[in-house]
Structures are given as structure tokens and as C-alpha cells.
Symmetry: C2
Subunit: 901 residues, 2 copies
Amino acid sequence: MKMKGDTTIMIKKGKKRTQRFVYFFGAGKADGDASMKSLLGGKGANLAEMTRLGIPVPPGFTISTEACKLYYQNHEKWPGGLKEEIEGNLHRLEQVMEKGFGNTDNPLLVSVRSGAAVSMPGMMDTILNLGLTDQTVGGLIRKSKNDRFAYDAYRRFIQMFGNVVLEVDHHHFEELLAKKKQQNKTTKDTELQSQALKELVAEYKQLIQKQTGRAFPEDPKEQLILSCNAVFSSWNNKRAFTYRNLNHIPHDLGTAVNVQAMVFGNLGNTSGTGVCFTRDPSTGAKVFYGEFLMNAQGEDVVAGIRTPQPIAVLKKEMPKVYAQLVKIYQRLEKHYRDMQDMEFTIEDRELYLLQTRNGKRTAHAAVKIAVDMVKEKLIDRNTALLRVDPEQLNQLLHPMIDPKEKLKVIAKGLPASPGAAVGKVVFESQRAAELGGELGEQVILVRTETSPEDIAGMAVAQGILTARGGMTSHAAVVARGMGKCCIAGCDAIHVDEEKGFFKAGDLIVKEGDYITLNGSTGEVILGQAKLVEPKLSGDFKQIMQWADSIRTLAVRTNADTPVDAQVARGFGSEGIGLCRTEHMFFEKDRIFTVRLMILSKDEQERKKALEKLLPMQKGDFKEIFKVMRNLPVTIRLLDPPLHEFLPKEVEEIQKLADALGRSAQEVREQIETLHEFNPMLGHRGCRLGITYPDIYQMQVQAIFESACELAKEGQRIIPEVMIPLIGTLSELKVTKKSLIQTAEEVMARYRVKLKYSVGTMIEIPRAAITADEIATEAEFFSFGTNDLTQMTFGFSRDDIGKFLPKYLKEGILERDPFVTIDRGGVGKLMKIAVEKGRSVNPKLKVGICGEHGGDPSSVEFCHEAGLNYVSCSPFRVPIARLAAAQAVLKQDRRLKVKGGR
Amino acid sequence: MKMKGDTTIMIKKGKKRTQRFVYFFGAGKADGDASMKSLLGGKGANLAEMTRLGIPVPPGFTISTEACKLYYQNHEKWPGGLKEEIEGNLHRLEQVMEKGFGNTDNPLLVSVRSGAAVSMPGMMDTILNLGLTDQTVGGLIRKSKNDRFAYDAYRRFIQMFGNVVLEVDHHHFEELLAKKKQQNKTTKDTELQSQALKELVAEYKQLIQKQTGRAFPEDPKEQLILSCNAVFSSWNNKRAFTYRNLNHIPHDLGTAVNVQAMVFGNLGNTSGTGVCFTRDPSTGAKVFYGEFLMNAQGEDVVAGIRTPQPIAVLKKEMPKVYAQLVKIYQRLEKHYRDMQDMEFTIEDRELYLLQTRNGKRTAHAAVKIAVDMVKEKLIDRNTALLRVDPEQLNQLLHPMIDPKEKLKVIAKGLPASPGAAVGKVVFESQRAAELGGELGEQVILVRTETSPEDIAGMAVAQGILTARGGMTSHAAVVARGMGKCCIAGCDAIHVDEEKGFFKAGDLIVKEGDYITLNGSTGEVILGQAKLVEPKLSGDFKQIMQWADSIRTLAVRTNADTPVDAQVARGFGSEGIGLCRTEHMFFEKDRIFTVRLMILSKDEQERKKALEKLLPMQKGDFKEIFKVMRNLPVTIRLLDPPLHEFLPKEVEEIQKLADALGRSAQEVREQIETLHEFNPMLGHRGCRLGITYPDIYQMQVQAIFESACELAKEGQRIIPEVMIPLIGTLSELKVTKKSLIQTAEEVMARYRVKLKYSVGTMIEIPRAAITADEIATEAEFFSFGTNDLTQMTFGFSRDDIGKFLPKYLKEGILERDPFVTIDRGGVGKLMKIAVEKGRSVNPKLKVGICGEHGGDPSSVEFCHEAGLNYVSCSPFRVPIARLAAAQAVLKQDRRLKVKGGR
């Protein structure tokens, strides 16, 4: 393919035009550039930019996203002037290429590709070789002197066009092709000779006539018009619509259409095609990385029929082309200041770049590249911070399945807690504790669903798999808190705990069988896969340090145990934002006493049980305070409904009955009376504290006694007591009064004066609406966004599995509100609460301790809403730190844009 | 007792005084008047007013509530100047009475009574005969010439003072009194002679010395000071505090203290005491009504030892006094323009009025008196409307237990649905249906709790009694909807459905035993009490007509059946605000088909079941539309979670399995998968409509087919389709689009164009917050305040029994938010929703269809918040009509007060 120098075409005057729809690129000049992504799409903008940079790109033109939008507004008709503009640009392309579109001697062939502003794999397939007809194929034969190549190109075009534009099902073409190969006694496409391919062309055309009721269009312009419409339409096909919903892409952006002169990598052994990266996308190393295939088209590389060769081999085979490619890649990376992913084609020793874009990379590579580029002075620190996807850091913080492993995936559930785990299947918590605890075996706890009774088993298991429950089910929340791999809501399996097996399809997995969980993808794998342990690089620490230097949100952790607290402090947590006292209640040696306390018939019996619990709680708090010395520790008083602590098993009930001196029947009845219809909205949180004030008193006593004892040893302890489930000012007043009384008594007894504060969860809609009342008595607010989301939406997080998937798929909800804060509803309530709270109490400290505290988008929202801190599970602390820094940068950018206007 | 003419005392000048604390009344003049209730309390203001009217009232003075408030602000010390003012007024009283306080010859004795602005029976007991000491008793003997009378007065005073002021327990005095009677070989107080009484005085004093460690005060002034303090303190005693919480009385009003010269009704046969009403408080008839006792003090009338005589008897015994009393009562009623309740004492043929106040009356009397007084031109119509308590109308609309019956109350629960019912106890819905339906017996359904499966049994029962659940539990809501008597949450009983009995304490009530329920008080009565059927008088209709002429809120009804609709129309309902389609699903012949529909494995199976349900629903709607012709009918699409419709019984499951061709085990498992942790927040409402669109389509088809068929017959049908549980605009858009499509298809098929509208419940907090989005697609909002309250507070109405009672008792909540709208929280959300909704859709119609729609205070709030209508259960329609009228009058009054300032 040869091109002539620049040619200018004249757009007809006379007709008044306010908008331009088509942008040419070729021969070193381009109407567009890289900044015009929203108008030209990513691909089109970069093709224009490369052309401007003097990089060899097959010329062509881009029809703008604006044209696509008008097409939809105009009931799927082209806007006025579009046809003329396309014709003008086509003429200009003919001139540059010195070929004619539809010319029978020297035909111009083009590719047609969709290209939106954001990458959208769900959209239209590419159409290659457009412009071929029974007339023009002769010209291609004459020019290429290769009739097999020409007929193969023609049959491929008809197949693509027939399928993509005319919507004839793929398998019809495949059937004809298979039959033809059979007739010719071969199994490979490449061994079909020109006569056979010529016959196939005719058969394909008959197929199209039969299936669509009309002939294959022999007019190249008609081919082009139909293809452009197909691209426009593909914007709204079901795949694209669903993809946009799942990836939170607006539906009104539209797509651009790229029409580009064809170049051929399959013209013989001096042609080829390949893909390359400016750095290693898996490690981030600064090496030229890629692979190529000689005598092949792009689709052959993708199809994986032949194995491509490493890019270094090209240096030997075509040193000049390789040298040119190296120059280009260095140029492009320097120009875009980011790692590039490029596609190229060599047509008869002539190099063409077909695409460049910022390359996808692993978390490890992302961190290394960002830090390296700062060292290389390619980018500044802020840009480096924005280059790393906080969510992706998860990969670095948890064990992963070795990417080289061949896996037998037997089911897929929700990726509830990231990482990977290998172990023997067990179905009961107690069995898990036996095998995993005492015998030291690696186990995976598999259950239909977990309940607080399973905590001990979860603690010793490597990972947890449940058949029911969502991303915020009990199993998921607890596992994330423990930093433990978990797959939840895996409804492809049926668990029979009693008989000791689970079924995945026809496969039966029994207790003791090995499985592997991938908590980052939700895949359940049969057998023992090899795992890779995480290690944190110096680059990672560098990124975190930069992040800390600019973020304004503090990052705390949700930690219930000294171990969790230690892990979180290691990850840079600046305090505990949520210490759930109830998790301590579930420990093996305590739960029995807790149960005695709950089943007490009178205050005296309860007092006795509480007295036994006091030293235990005190010990817990002391350990946690020690780990977190000098940092604030927010302790939430008892929150869950009491029945969560009570047993269902006959033996356990009997044990309690014996200890209480009652009959098992009596105890069972008592447990029954604690049953609730909607426990989420029941007798819990401060409602318990008000009806059984001695429980909270014991907890407060334990907090202050342990803090006072440490303070006497000279340690700086900063307790913050948090009252859960406040809905009215009166509840807070009553609870706080008794709390302060106990705290002051303890401090007087120890002759210690601690700085402490008392605050409340904001998790009930009423608390948010009346925050100006609540804040008169609260020193801090901590948004419990799990419950706040449940009540604001009226969604039980344990029960949404039946409709949430459909909601997400159909775009009724953009995101799972339990993963990312619903800014339009829950977020509004939060903003109301912050504003009202600070209006009466300007010093009010505001944080968040729901699961959202570790979600990057939610962290960004919390920054915007003016919160003081976020608190998340230990393993998400680094994610939150980076997200908090990005929030600052993004806000600055928005302010600049606004200021600039 | 004789008094001298007016005497003026001089308040010492010199000291600058800004506030006055003490108000004198006596000898025809008074410092206060009836308008000063908040300062002088109800009693004090009326004593002053009567004095001014020239009515004989024992003179005295009132210490203002302001003094009480300052007493509390001042750490329980008297404000400066109070002592001096009391002394001045005491002196003035001595002069008027021509007696001396502490004078040994002619002692002045006084009574001390508390008296707040609102009547508060929980407060302090009265102290009589204050001023008696060992010195002054001699004077009383000489003046009365009756030493038994004098010592009896003295010992009564010490007993009252010792108990009320010095807090010596009552039973200590009673013991000494009993002993004394034993010594004197009598059982009656009246037979103790003066010597014995004199001894008792000495023994009482020793008792006080022993119990309190100090002597009984022999100084009348000290007695007075201590008594005043006791009255002040009684304002904050536990009884009073609880009473105020339960009756929604603010805690900062304070009480006044009334010090009044004693008059004696027990000076012999020319003395006496009595109580009388200006009209019959039970029937409202315009007759002089009351009773009296000769030679008695007020406490003797109350104690019920002697039976009082009808007031008419007084005419014969003391014609002059009677004539005087008649004149006074006529004067007082005319003056106060309301029925008066008066206390009087005759001291030696001299008549004194001790109190007058507006009399309490039955609903029947309230209505009659209000209408009569308008006829008599005593009051205008607006005043008449404000004279009837809407809540009280309940008495007129339901059967009542004959007030003459002697009852054996065996337990007390929540008065969940008013009225009374008698019947045989049954424990199962099916048994109820057998006995009550086919055999026509009167039954009471008794269950631990009810579920939707019990609807059929509830429908045939006379009344419902449950051991669990609150005022808005399933049993309560359904019973109120049916206008059926119900007692819920009666935790004093233990129900054993299987064995067929319930226990109330030690009493066992078996199936077939008769009980009576009083749904207005919550009393469960053993046996068959006699009931009185309600009848609506012409006066009632008159009041309703006046109410309708001024109210601006429309009143609709919640009705699910033609019968309910008919009842409500009879009570003046202006449309249906909520027709719950699911109640139709529970009918005996349908529930099976509904279950088949729910358990369908695929769309086809479900379609088949829905096709069977279509004609049934269509028939229901047709009947309801007919009853409500010309009025709007709001039909809510299916709302409850599907599992509510499924059976638990083995036979029922087997029947379903047979019909579906599956095993019982399979069906049971399927039912289990529908189990939800928090059904209230689960898969229900529009979430069902979105996941199973064909269910809503069937319902919409049924609505429009029935409406079209009636329209063709020339009837005016106004369907309003309501979508439940909307939380986001997208949900409404998706559901509405499909709904309108079905509706338009049906109307096109029938060639009928109906005027219909589509709206949504606002019951999810998120819907309220985003009402400006929702209202772009909704033609009306209907607040589902039951669910909105549940989610705004995070209270499950079925589970609040464990903490709500404590919350109400301790004043943490002023009212049960499921009975009266919580203005501070839920109300705020409602106002936000109304404002936001109308901001984008000024024509938006807004109503309420939660239980609150029939609560007078909530109706008032709805009026203020600018709603267009309220909808309530049929039997509450008259209540809502009156409450809506009162809301207008109260708002006018507030506006006038504001305007006047």
C-alpha cells in the first residue's frame, strides 16, 4: 500500500452547516487529536494523534459520537450533511491512497470499527475488507497477484458483513465452510484453494439471500452505509447495554465509527501482525514486551490457532522494522506518559500502527510503573497516585492462585472476601475447630449460610463457602473482617450439612475432599491449587507514603481482636473506628456465660453472669488498647439481638438447662420467646442497653478499668465509647447519662483522669433526619452505612439475592448499594446528618464504620461530604488510604475545571 | 363558719418585686380568674372565677405554678418573697374568716391541695384540717361544741399529714387505728369516742417520732410550709411523671397550691357533702344529676362505705339549699358554656362550692350535649365540633359490654381493635371456620400470633386474641380492617394451640369455653358478658354534617372487600384509599391456585396459574367498583412477600406436591428457599412486580377489564393504580411502563377510554428523600406510614413489644409511633416528600393510607402537612371526618393567635 502526500478536499459551501461529523486522518495530518476522546472515541482520537506524530497509520476517517447521538435522537436516521461529509472524506481517502472505492482495477478496501469514549468490549465486531464485490475482487487479484488471498479476503468479508450487519447467524456460515472443507478433504481453512473459496463466496451470497430475503449488496457505498448503521445500532444492543450497566457507563455517550484503509498482514512471509506493550504489563519491568505472527491477520492472533513468537524474535527476522517499532513505542510512551498497548501490522515490510492505548496491567505492575515513571520524571507524584486503582491493591494484600495453574472450576458464587484458600471441606463449625484448630489441618468451611454460632469455625478455617447470602451476609462481613477468603451466595451448590456433602451439578464433594476458593473471582475449584503469597514491595510503600502526604481523611480500621488491630496498624491504620464487643462474646469459653446472662430470670441472676463476663471483656479491651496505644479506639457497646447468641442444638440447650436448674423445655420456650420476625429491626443496640442497663454498665466498666490500668502504667489510651442504633435524642441521653456515671466512678476509683468521648452510630434514618438534636449530646457520629442502607432502601442485606441481580442487570440500580454508597439516597441522608450535626456542634467528629469505608468510590464520597475519617477492615486500610488521596486530587481537579470556566 | 366583708392587705413596699406568686379569693372578690389556668391551675382559676361570680366559695389563696417552677430551678428552695406573700395572704384570710391561724380560741383551719393546669390524678393527696395542734384543738372543741368531731378531725389531719408530707407509710397508721378499734371492741371508725381518738392522736405522734426521728410539728405555719413543699415535690413523683408520659403532658408546667379555709360537712345532720353535674354525663340529657351524703366529708363519699342519695332527695331535705344549688349550677353552666362537674359542702345549712370543672362524659353524652347546646344557642357549631373527642366516637361505632355487667377479668392485653365480642374459644383457623362458618357458632380465635394463613378463621370469628405482637401486628391490623374486636400482645396468657388450651395464671381455658373480649380496654373476661349494640343517633349525624362542611381533607377508606367498602360508604367515605389485592388471595378457594402460581418452576407454569386467578380478581374488583361507583378506588398491586402465602402444614404441602407432580420434599425445599431473614425488608412490593412482571400484568388486566365492563354499562369508575414499596425512580418507571401498556391494551380491546391514574406508596425513606425524582412519574403519593415508621425508626412493629412499653413509661418516646405519627422524624420525612413532590409536580395528589389515617392527632398533622386525603379502616371514617374538621378549627385558632400578637 502506497500513499500520496496531503490532499485537501473542499466541503461544499452554500448549505449552512453548524456541526462537523467526520474527522480525517492520514499522511501526517489529522483533523482530530488525543484530547477529543469524547467526540472521536478512544480509538479514533489516538489514531488521529499518532498520525499527527508522524507515526505510520493507515489513513481513514472517524465519524463522531455526536453523529451517533443525533442518529438516535432522529429516530435512527442520519443527521443532515453526514452523508455528504462521509462522501467527501471517502474521496479524500481515495486520493491519499491513490485507489478507488469500488474501482475494479485498483479497489480501495476499508475496515469499519466501533469506538466509544470508554472501552466497551460488549459492542460491535470489526468488519474488514469492506469494498469487495464481484467486480472489485478482480482488481485485488491483479494488484496482489494472489487469487487465493483475494478470495479468502472476499469470503471473510461476506461472512463478517453477513453476520454483523445483516444479522445472519454465525453458525450458518460455519456450516457451509465446514462442508466445503469436507468436500476438499481438509480440516484447515488455510488449505482451501481459490476455487473452493470462490465457490464459498457464491454459497454465502445464496445463504444471505435466503436468510434475509435480499441480495448481498454489490455496491461498496451501500456496504459502508449499512456498516455505519450497524455500528450505531450496536451501541444499544443488549450486550452493550448490560456491559454499561455493570460498569456504570452512561447510556447517552454514543459511539464513533472508524473507517480506515485496509492493510494486510497476510500477504506472505514479508507481512505479519502483532501486539506489544511498552513495559511488561504483568511485572511492570521496563522492557519491550509483546508477540507477533508472520503472514497473519489480527484475528488469527486472537484465535490462538498458531502460537505467536516473542517480539524479540522480530529483531532477527526484520531488524529494520523492529528498530522502527522500538522508536515508535518509545515515542508513544513518552508522548502519552503512560504504558502503551499497541497493535501493528506489517504489509510487505511496511510497518503500520493500528491502535495505541493505555495498557491494562496487574496491581503489581501498576504500582511499579507509577513509581518508576515518577523516578524517570515522566509524571509527577499526583499523577502516579491516580494511576493505581485502589480496588486492585487487593491483589497485593492477599494470597493468590498461581496464574499458571490449570483449574477445574466447579461453581461460581459472589466474590465476598478476596484472596485464595485451599483446604479440606468441612460442614460444621465444631468439626472445623477440631480439624483446623487442634489437628492443624487446613479446612474450608462450607455451609448453606453461616450464623454467629459459626464464628469459631470460621476463625480456624482457611476460607468460607456459603450457598446463600449476599455480599454483606453474615459470612461475607465476618470473613472480610477476618481478612479471610470467602465465597458467598454460591447458589450453584446444594449443601447437605447433615449428610456431609455438597453437590455442584452432578459432582458430589464430601467432607475431607480438597477444594480451592478464589475469593476475588468467586470461583470454587476442585482440588488443591498452588497459591502465591503476597509481598509488599518498596514501590508499594512509596505510593502509600505519597498518598498519606496529601489525603485529609483519616483512615481507621474495624477490628475486634488484638490480632486484627495489629494487622491494621501494620497497614497504617490511624486508630480503631469500630470494635464490635459482641464478637468477643462468641469465643468458646465465653458464649456459655453470655447465654446464662441472657436467660437470667431476674436482675440478680443476670448480675452474677455479668460479673463473670467483666474480667473477660476487660482483658480483651486491655490487649486491644495496648496494640493501639496513642491512637483512638472506638468501642461499640453491645449491638445484636440477644437471640443471636442462643443455641439451637439439643445438647447445648440441655447444658444450659442444667446450669440454670430448669427443664430443657423451659429453656427452649424461653429461647422461643426471644425469636423475632425482623431481627434487623428488633430488640438490639441501645434498645438492649435501655431495657437491660446492667449489660452496658458492665461493658463500660470493663472499658474504663482496662484503660485506667494501662494509663497507670504510663500508656496513652484514648477510648471512644459508641452507642449503637440511636434513633432519638432521648435514647442517647438516657444511655449516655448512665455510661458517664459508670465511667466517672471507675476513674475516681483509679484516681485517673482519661480523655474520652461518647458518640453514636448514625444508622437509623431517623437519627440522620434529627441529627441536629442528636449532636447536642454526641461528641462524634459514625455512620453505620450497612444498616443505614438497609433501612433507607428497605432492603434486608440477607434477602436481596432474589432481586438485586436483576436490578443491577437491568440498570434499575447502578451499583449494589451495600458495596458503594448510594449517593442519591443514603448519601443525601448522610449529608443532611453532617450538616445538621455540625450546625449545633461545630466540633463534631464524623466518620464511617460500615463496610463502605473500604470502598474507593464511597471513600471519595466521604471526603466530599466532609467526614473526618473512614474505618474499614484491616486488609482494606491501604486501599482506603490511596482512595482518600485520590479523592483530594479529583476534588482539586473538579474545582480547577469549575474555576477555569 | 362566718366571714366578714372585704379586707385589703398591704404588701410591704420598699422591696422591689417583679413577680407575684400568691392570688387571693374570697368574699366576692378574687385576684385571679378562669382565664389564668396555666398560672393558677384548673382548680385555682375556677375557685377565683366562682368567687368573682358571687358564688359561695370558702375563701383562700392559690400559690402559682410559677412559684413551683422557680422552686425547681432554685434547687428546691422557695423563690424570694414567696414566704412574705403567703404570710400576707394568710393574714388576709384570717381577717375574712375572723379566725386566727394557730389561735387557741378560734383557730383557722385550712385544706391544702395541688392543682395543675391539666387534671393529674397521679399527683398529691389532699391535706385537710391543717392548723390543728394540741393547742388549737381545744378551740375547735369549744367552737364546735363537739369534742368527738374535733379529735376525729385532729387524728385525720395527723394521719394525712404524716403519710403525705412526712412519708410515713399508710399501713402504720392503719395498724394503730385497727388496734384502737379492737381495744374498744368495735369495727367502725365512727364508733370510736373522743377519748379513744385522743389516745390515737398521741400514738400517731409517737409513730411519727419513731419513723422520722423528729416530732410532729406543733406550729401551724411549719405545717403549712412543709405541706406546700410536699405539693411542689409531688409534681415530680414517679406516679405523676409516669402519668404525664402516658398522657403526653409536658414535664415543665409545674403545679399550683390551693390553701383554702376548711368547711365541714360532718358537723351533724344539718351538714353534708355531694357531687353534681349540670347534665347527665352518661346520656347527655338536660337534667340536674348528682348525689350527696348528710353528715359526711368528701372522702366518705369517695370511700363508698355509705351509699349516697340522689340529688333530688336534697330538695325534700333542704329545699332552700337545693334551690340555691340549682341556681348556682344553672349560672355556672351558662357561664362556662359547658356541662359542669361540681363539688359542694353544706356546713350547718350553709352551702359552699368547693370545685367546678368541665365534666367528663360518654361519647353519647358528648355528642348530644354538643348538639343541644348549639340548639340552645349556648355555643356555636365550631365549638360543638371541638367538644367531641374523635377517638371517643369509637364507643358509638362498636358493640360494648353492658356497663352494668360484673366481669371476671382474667388477663389484659393491648386494646388492638375496639368493640366487644363473646364466643367459644378456638385455637385454629380451620376449626374457627368449621364452627363459626358452617355451624354458625360464635367463636373467638385465640392464637400465640396470627399469620396471613389465619385470615379465613379471623373472618368468621367474633374477635381475636393473641399472646404476642403489638398494636400493629398482623392480628391487630387485619382485625381493625375488618372492624372486628381484637386484643393483641396479651402476654399474660400462654397459648398451647396443639393441646387446645390457654393459661391465664393458673386458670386453664379450653376449646369450647366461653370468653368475652373488650377490645377497647384490652380486657379478657371469662364467660359470656352481655353486649350492647351501637346505634347512631340523629345528633351524631348532625355533628358529622357540620364536620363535613368545614373540613378540607377528604376521607377515604382502606377496604379490601365489597362488604368493607359498603360499610365505609355508609360511614361517609369518599373513596377507597387502599384496596389490598393480596387479601383476596387468601380466600379459601383461591389460596391453592396462588400457591401453585408461586411454586411454578417456569414462566409457563406461572402463566397457567395466573390465568386461573384472573377471573377471580376481576370479579372482586368489579364488586368493589360497583359499590364505590363515582368515587375513586385506589388499588395497590401485590405487596407481601410470597412466602406469606405458603403453607406449613404437612397435608397442605402434600396437596401442592400432588398438584405439581413433585415430591413433598421438593416442595418443602422450595418453600424453604423462600424463607427470609427480615421479610419486612425483603422480596416484596414492586420488587416482586419487577422480578415476576406477569403477576402485576394479571392484576392490572383484572382491574381494567372489570372497570371497562362496568363503564360499558354506563357506570362511572375511577381506578387509581398504586405501586407499593417504591424506593427509586427507576423502579417506578419500569413498573409503570408495563402497567400502562397493559391498561391501554385492555381499554383498546374494550373500546373504552377510562380516566385513571398511576401513583405510588411512599413508605421507604429513600422514596421520601427522592420525592422530587419519584413525583416526575407519579400522579399521586400515598404515605404508607406503617412501613415508613418501621424503616425510619428501624422498628419492626411485630417485635417492639420487648422495649416499647419501657420507652413509653420512661418518656423516651412520647407516643407509640405506630399509633400517632412521629412528627419529629417520620413527619419531617413526610413534609420533605410533600414539598419535594409538589416542587416538580404541582398537581400531585397526596394521601395517607397507613393505620395513622384514622388517628385524630395524625389526621391533624396530615392537614397541616397539606395532604389531600386520609384513608382509614371503615369504622374509623367518622373519627377521621371529625378530626379533619377539628384540624381546620385548631389551625384557624393558631393563625388567629399568631395574627393577634
